[in-house]
Amino acid sequence: MKKIATGNKAVAEAVKQAAPTVVAAYPITPQTEIVEQVAEFVSSGELKSRYIAVESEHSAMAACIGASITGIRTFTATSSHGLLYMHEMTNWAAGARLPIVMANVNRSLGPGWNIWAEHTDALQERDTGWLQVYVSTVQEAYDATLMAFRIAEHNDVLLPVMVNLDGFLLSHIMQPLDTVDLGDFIPPIHLPHAIDVKNPAGYGCLTGPDQQFRFRWDIERSMRDSVKVIEETQKEFAKRFGRKYGFTEDYQCSDAEVVIVALGTLGKEAEVAVDLLRKEGIKAGSMRLRWLRPFPKLDLKGKQVVVIDRDYSFGRGGILATEIVAQTREPVFSVIAGIGGQEVTYEDIAGFVRKRRIGEEFWFGVSGNV
């Protein structure tokens, strides 16, 4: 069914169809519309879930953990400080092997109070054991949320999945949305380690130096196994519903001499920049990274790479640039742009490509650094 929706509404629509038994959430700008819409679905009876209006994000994730371990489907949504406040519990959720799905609306971190788009929030969760996907359109927000449940709950994965969408630039933008007749695309959840009072077990007990690493390795093994589950799920989604997704979305990359790599809406804006650059005779391409964890194998050999980071790791560099350099061993032109919702147009992106200085870093808008 075709409709017009915001990114937030698209996520809520997908949650309604995935029908988690428990949703525990706490409002935060610019995510609030997701939980409001989910609460509305629950209130109207369209969604047969229990909505727990917790008193904090730390409790939101703790409640999802407590619900999930009984073997049922769970969902929550957050953003920025909310995500940071639940950081202790995001680690717990992954460590406890719970397939919780969370939408994170990417937003800057204080101070100062800035409610606009930035990826540093989700990237600070990079090492928690969550799978992370970044979307760029309203349609993709919906599709990725549906797929997130199937991937998280797959018995070769059993890890939580975070769906990231840019604050305001996507959360509050209206675009066409084609909803699907889900059918049995998401199979019923079966959690092999669900609590069973007839077979009592201790969960997360004291674990010594001779054992802890085994649990950590098990997370990594499943993270590696998740690659084929993601591939299968995206393939099955394309087969059933006609929309194709990969680990990256490549645009004009095959003959490109310079490739722009970015996350989220910046990656989509880069496609327009590519068109502009091609008209000028610059063989540009765009490789929008969709999955950050597990981090895909990127084929950037022989290409000049311009990475745009809407985030930063102080004392080191753009987080995405650092990841790409580590993975490809290729030097990149690292552009820091879009921090705290800073406006970045396709013309700006084309400018980054024209003026690229491979091996260097460039902060967009900082005088003396242009």
Partner: protein, 295 residues
């Protein structure tokens, strides 16, 4: 229930726990689980009970135990209870948390879960300090008690968590102590019979923390009640009933010194501080008596 023989013989705490000798936390939990029975899940934040249950891959508890981060127990239980009820299961969800996990770091999650009417039982076993990390002061530590972070004795009074819990208008709330096992058993049974949130606050004398010899834990609990440092009561839908043991203490308490003297944590306590503690006991007695008379 009048005699201990009426308490079920079935044990849910198996042999070989990692508890200290004379631990009244595990003694309390023994009676809690006897009252709760096998259709029960314990949610345990960081506390002595995280250690007592044993080391992976073994567990000494014969009910499922979900260990969770320090400040998260009530929120975790909130999700669990909702999930069980959504599935039509009546499984008891019991938080078993220490005073640090309740009065301090977990108070927000507990207040939230109470306010939302979560169908669960929150039990705080209170040994009046952070026992698991070696006895640092908590907001449950009484005035004058020495801990490793109050080496000269605590200068602040014990937080009244029961008044805070009562402010949530709970269907059932009680205080207890393993020195009175039948009373504890009855209170847990009652708490689990109500729908919605309930709270039981158990005084848990702790030999290494309070510095008394290990065979005296039950005696220490009785001295606490007889001196009025601990009052046994229950509040059912707002109606307060003071237990007969505490009624007797209100009429004629034993000298407070009888409770303080055997404990190393009160060694060298300033007589002025003892006087303040006595005044607080009298004030608390009067407050509870007035509430009982009016309810």
């Amino acid at each position: 229930m009048d005699t201990i023989a009426e308490i079920p013989k079935e044990e849910f705490i198996l042999k070989c726990t990692s508890a200290c000798a004379g631990c009244s936390d595990s003694l309390s939990l023994r009676y809690v689980l006897k009252a709760a029975g096998p259709d029960t899940v314990l949610v345990v934040p960081a506390c002595c009970t995280s250690v007592i249950q044993g080391i992976y891959p073994n567990t000494a508890f014969n009910v499922p135990v979900y260990n969770i981060a320090f400040g998260a127990a009530a929120a975790c239980a909130s999700g669990m209870s909702n999930a069980f009820r959504a599935a039509g299961k009546k499984t008891n969800v019991i938080v078993y948390a220490g005073d640090g996990g309740t009065l301090d770091i977990g108070i927000q999650a507990m207040s939230g879960a109470f306010e939302r009417g979560t169908d669960f039982l929150y039990i705080c076993y209170d040994n009046e300090a952070y026992g698991n990390t070696g006895m640092q002061r908590s907001s449950g530590t009484p005035l004058g008690a020495r801990t490793t972070t109050t080496p000269a004795g605590k200068t602040d009074a014990k937080k009244d968590i029961d008044a805070i819990a009562a402010a949530h208008d709970l269907p059932y709330q009680a205080t207890a102590c393993a020195a009175y096992p039948q009373d504890l058993f009855k209170k847990v049974t009652k708490a689990l019979a109500v729908r919605g949130p309930s709270f039981i606050h158990i005084l848990a004398p702790c030999p290494p923390g309070w510095r008394y010899s290990t065979e005296r834990s039950v005696e220490m609990g009785k001295l606490a009640v007889k001196s009025g440092m601990w009052v046994l009561y229950e509040r059912e839908y707002g109606k307060l009933t003071i237990g007969p043991q505490s009624k007797a203490a209100m009429k004629k308490p034993i000298p407070l010194e009888d409770y303080l003297k055997p404990q190393g944590r009160f060694k060298g306590i300033d007589p002025k501080t003892v006087e303040i503690l006595k005044q607080r006991i009298a004030k608390n007695f009067a407050k509870l008596a007035a509430e009982e008379a009016s309810s």
